[in-house]
Symmetry: C2
DNA sequence: CCGTTCGTACAGTTATTTCTGTACAAAGTA
DNA sequence: TACTTTGTACAGAAATAACTGTACGAACGG
């Protein structure tokens, strides 16, 4: 915790204790984002910091090596959960959390789910055309046709799902989702 | 692959090759669901099966132990990605994938994200009231008040986000999301 | 009942991931 | 230019997770 505000030790203790619950709960649940428990904990730490933090400060607060802070914070930056900020006069890199969690959520889906959706869609489409070629080549074989059609109809349904998923992700990226599901209910 | 349809070895080869791309791509991307690569691969295998499969058949196809199949398939059942099915005459447990991927996606979010959202919301609210108590107790101390207000406003914004997230998840659970973002575009 | 067959608990092994300390390149400072 | 300071690559150590084989209880068939 930053010391610039000069709290009494008693106050500081009480504040740290209150923060701790949130830091740990959030840290634990961040595995949903595919990040490690300790990186989640780092995120929680940064969340309550009211000033950008250096790697050394993180290391001291987390009681971990600077190397780990470096890799942890890089993960968070890649996920756009944490931003690198500049401060004149300081040679050190400074980091602070992105406080707009709506944005964080949207960015996460753009980054991870869209990539997966597009890879899967690509694989499905390639395999679909491959199966269609097989269907033509062995046009007479009824048993094989039957099998191919079973696979093809599954693939078509999967493609339909991924097209939908891509569209859903688009609503996250564009912010349209907040028109469909408003941030505050009326 | 089930042999009941009696394909030629050549046809079977071609089919397996075509399926392989999809199985592996999907299997790899399933880490987004927090499942292991090999469990993802198992899912891909089941996807193309046109009959429910036993643990022994899975083990043979995956070249892995039956124990691993048992734990893998249990994970998939817990996530409602795979269903246990009954077939008279068979003493063995049979499993098949849930083919409705829209449903699978919705179930996954209900299960995992809602649980996390509720835990976080709970922690945030508890900490919020704890901070409010501190604010009352040290009503005169300006430096401390300043710090408490900084924390409280962050917490309020986080609470706002989780309330929204819960509402979003509700639209998945109720199927309302498919009214907001239609399965097929008009 | 007794003998099978099935699924899974459990303990041990193997494989993977996470974390640390050292070393070094980059960039600033004098 | 030499001297610091900073962030990260890299290799090894420590911690976790995944996988396997054995063993055993449950369910069924004779």
């Amino acid at each position: 915790m930053e010391r610039s505000e000069d709290l009494t030790p008693e106050q500081e203790q009480a504040l740290l204790k209150a923060r701790k619950r949130v830091i740990e709960t959030i840290g634990n649940n961040m595995e949903l984002y595919g990040i490690t428990q300790s990186t989640g904990h780092l995120y929680g730490l940064l969340f309550f910091q009211n000033k950008p933090m250096t790697l050394d400060e993180m290391g001291r607060a987390m009681e971990m090596s600077k190397t780990s802070m470096s890799t942890g914070v890089r993960t968070l930056v890649d996920l756009k959960m944490v931003n690198k900020v500049w401060e004149k006069g300081s040679r050190k890199d400074l980091y602070e959390v992105e406080l707009d969690w709506f944005q964080t959520f949207a960015d996460f889906f753009s980054l991870k789910w869209r990539k997966a959706a597009e890879m899967n869609l690509h694989a499905l489409r390639r395999t679909k055309s491959e199966l269609q070629e097989l269907a033509e080549r062995y046009a007479g074989d009824e048993a094989f046709q039957h099998q191919l059609q079973a696979d093809l109809s599954k693939i078509d349904e999967a493609i339909r799902y991924y097209i939908w998923l891509n569209r859903l992700i688009e609503t996250f990226e564009s912010g349209e989702i907040f028109k469909l599901v408003p941030k505050d209910m009326g």
